[in-house]
């Protein structure tokens, strides 16, 4: 099963972090990424630019509208994600809990809708 781990945290706190803490955090993320690559759980993962860089796109009545900002204003924002391969939700939760962001923000774990392979 594939699971998407969405990392939410208060992005306004990011620039306020002392340099040393930012570096520690980045090192922790680096180590975490390496460890899930080595264990075969890694599928993909990226950090995102802050929501100030987001654009939201919709088509209504055939008309395109583009607006500035994320689709919803929330206290904690999506700041990055990992796509992982795990045998079940318990393993996915266990891996999700090791994402450094779990210590200050929240990790939403979502199963990926997998389309069964067509029967040959």
């Amino acid at each position: 099963m594939k699971y998407l781990c969405l990392i939410y945290s208060d992005e306004s706190q990011w620039p306020k972090l002392p340099q040393a803490e930012t570096e520690t955090m980045l090192k922790e993320y680096g180590a975490f990424g390496e460890s899930i690559k080595a264990s075969g759980h890694w599928v993909a993962g990226h950090r995102l630019h802050p929501t100030s860089s987001a654009s939201t796109v919709r088509i209504r009545n055939g008309k395109l509208s583009t607006t500035d900002g994320p689709f919803a204003e929330t206290k904690e924002q999506l700041g990055g994600f990992y796509m992982i391969e795990a045998k079940d939700l318990n393993e996915a939760i266990q891996i999700g809990s090791r994402i450094p962001g779990a210590k200050h923000g929240s990790i939403e774990v979502r199963p990926v809708w997998e389309v069964p392979a067509p029967v040959a």
């Binding site: 099963m1 079940d88 939700l89 939760i93 199963p111």
Partner: protein, 418 residues
């Protein structure tokens, strides 16, 4: 075949259904990997038993017979449906290619399967009300109607909760397994919480006319026993002990007219000694395991009360000492409030009142009825009538239960005569 034989077979099937249907279900869920399929297979297996056992006699191992019959019935059913829905072919093939369970290993597996089912139903990734409904439905075998009745809600609401929970179990792939050692404390905590919620719902109904819905408490105690049998962890013992010690006072806590009677005023001859003995023994066993958790500590406090032949001979010093540890293990304002009440008994009402006022001043428990009724009681004992009246009135404004309401109104009348 004589009618007698048929009647006896029916009785046996009924008895096996009552004693073993949940165990058979738990194993079928593992073998089939699906709740609904397992429930269907369970019913098919019992229907087959009714027919075959009256003809051929009861098999030597009825439980194993039911599991393997259920499994074959499920494979048949999927095969039939696969003719119309090609996506089921794969499932049928997977089930058929898995070898049937070895009867010798089955006995042991069945024990583990019950535990797997409990952990699945109480998985923290499911909403709490769904955990409760699913546990009562699947582990205890209550019907949707019975659960709805116990929680004063409509059967479709409960049915929907259960369906949603099953959908999440399937979609998010919540596994059917006993958690590994490192995850056990969190996961066991979630199970114990569900059991205690069920017990409390039966013991202190949160709303309505009757104060006690004993069926739910009985169900929770049965669950607690099962848990101690399957997984003898100290907190599981502590919780079972706690529930038994509370339950032992059931007959003493309300008057025949349905009025609430406080612990100090209860007729202790009505307390059930065998439940106290069993509860206290569990507390002792849990205490020797040296991992003190909140349930064990609360049970130990209840055991000290149970040991006192009269309210006046209660060992308050020991109770306060236990609360001191409990506050550290579980620093919740409600625990502090209970500790304050014990301190008041050991050191006098003023000492208790000082602690309660500090909790309220901090902004905690402002909407908690028992904080105000406890405060009112201490003020009354100190002769501060106006303050007592205000606190009783505040408590009264927060109550949703008739017996509690009547109790507080009685107290208000009493202080007006002071």
């Amino acid at each position: 075949m004589s009618d007698d034989a048929a009647g006896r077979a029916r009785e046996t099937v009924d008895a096996v259904y009552r004693s073993d249907s949940r165990r058979v279900l738990a194993t079928l869920i593992r073998l089939l990997g699906d709740f609904d399929l397992a429930e269907e297979a369970l019913h098919d297996a019992f229907a087959a038993a009714l027919e075959q056992w009256s003809r051929d006699g009861v098999p030597a191992k009825p439980r194993a017979w039911l599991v393997s019959t259920g499994r074959f019935k499920a494979i048949d059913a999927i095969r039939r449906r696969a003719r119309f829905d090609g996506s089921l072919t794969e499932i049928a093939e997977r089930l058929e290619s898995t070898p049937p369970p070895d009867p010798a290993a089955l006995a042991e597996d069945i024990v583990d399967d019950r535990l797997r089912l409990i952990f699945l139903c109480c998985h923290p990734a499911l909403p709490p009300d769904a955990q409760v409904a699913l546990t009562l439905r699947e582990v205890c075998g209550l019907t949707t109607e019975e659960i709805a009745h116990a929680f004063f809600t409509r059967p479709p609401t409960i049915a929907q909760r259960i369906v949603r929970a099953k959908t999440k179990i399937r979609e998010a792939a919540i596994p059917y397994e006993i958690p590994e050692r490192s995850a056990l404390p969190e996961r066991l905590g979630s199970v114990l919480h569900v059991v205690y919620l069920v017990f409390n719902e039966g013991y202190h109904a949160s709303s309505g006319e009757t104060l006690v819905r004993s069926d739910l408490s009985g169900e929770a105690i049965r669950l607690g026993r099962l848990l101690v049998e399957l997984l003898p962890e100290p907190e599981a013992m502590g919780l079972l002990g706690l529930m038994l010690l509370h339950e032992s006072r059931r007959a003493a806590r309300t008057s025949p007219a349905g009025e609430l009677i406080l612990l100090a005023d209860q007729d202790r001859s009505l307390w059930r000694r065998e439940q106290i003995a069993e509860g206290s023994a569990l507390v002792e066993r849990a205490l020797t395991m040296r991992r003190l958790g909140p349930y064990t500590l609360q049970a130990a406090i209840a055991a000290v009360h149970a040991e006192a032949p009269a309210a006046a001979s209660t060992d308050w010093a020991q109770i306060v000492a236990l609360y001191d540890i409990l506050v550290r293990a579980d620093p919740a304002p409600v625990v502090e409030l209970n500790r304050a009440a014990a301190v008041a008994m050991r050191d006098g009402p003023l000492a208790g009142l000082t602690i309660i006022d500090a909790i309220l001043a901090r902004g905690d428990l402002g909407d908690y009825l028992h904080a105000h009724s406890a405060r009112a009681d201490l003020c009354r004992r100190l002769g501060r009538v106006a303050e007592a009246r205000a606190s009783y009135q505040r408590a009264l404004s927060l109550t949703r239960q008739q017996p509690e309401r009547r109790f507080l109104e009685r107290r208000l009348r009493e202080i007006d005569q002071m």
